[in-house]
Symmetry: C2
Subunit: 145 residues, 2 copies
């Protein structure tokens, strides 16, 4: 498995251990992680810090050119907010751990020219299955249902 997806899974597990939603993400530029994060809805009582948003926020303010050379790794298919952020910054490639638990805006991303790779990773699916069984209301809150 891709080491960067593994790093995103490590982030997801951190979130789970903190009592949060186990979705993690890393932003990679020129073969190097420049931002990583995980969903902070519970930990920071945040409505916007999905895993991908946290990774981008932790990467800090970057020149447009850097985003345009990045790959974003995420353990779960990106929701409309995170997909919109990928489009805002022109991130050209997204590697997704799985999209069985939740199918985000992959079609929109592809329509706008983003390369989308779905790994269908078992560990990503298992993490979400365990979490959703334990805290279904929290999961629904995170995806606005």
């Amino acid at each position: 498995m891709d080491n960067f997806l593994l790093e995103a899974i490590v982030e997801a597990k951190k979130g789970y251990e903190e009592g949060g939603i186990p979705i993690g993400s890393v932003l990679v530029h020129n073969g190097k992680v420049i931002g990583k994060g995980h969903n902070r809805r519970v930990q920071q009582r945040s409505a916007i810090l999905h895993g991908e948003m946290d990774a981008l926020e932790n990467a800090g303010r970057l020149p447009a050119k850097v985003y345009q050379e990045c790959t974003l790794y995420t353990t779960l298919s990106p929701c409309p907010m995170c997909s919109g952020t990928i489009l805002l910054y022109g991130i050209p490639k997204v590697v997704i751990g799985e999209n069985k638990t939740f199918l985000g805006e992959e079609a929109l991303l592809e329509e706008r020219g983003v390369e989308v790779i779905v790994v269908d990773n078992e560990e990503c699916k298992q993490l979400m299955a365990t979490f959703i069984k334990e805290k279904p209301e929290l999961w629904n809150e995170d995806i606005g249902i």
Copy 2:
């Protein structure tokens, strides 16, 4: 003019006075502001706190039903990130101060059933014109170009 748009403009002006990007937003539920904010790229060195995101974050974690009864006011047409967030939470109505300085994802929002109202407010346009003249690089960074 709608008082809620006025409140969003107050937020935008706060941002300008802080040396930031003058875009403000308020989230309104049942005729009451439940969250307000402005762009914090400069103030918090944030890559994700656009005005709309800041308003939503300041509103805190809300049940899905509340978002679905809200109107989001913003001084400038919402970018892909902020539009995606509107879609994530199913906010049904967006009132936009102006879309001449920047045209965001209004078409996508409408395609997905969001009511979009553009006020074409002079003060919103003037705030952005002044700011972009003073700090063009900062504005480009904010919209990923």
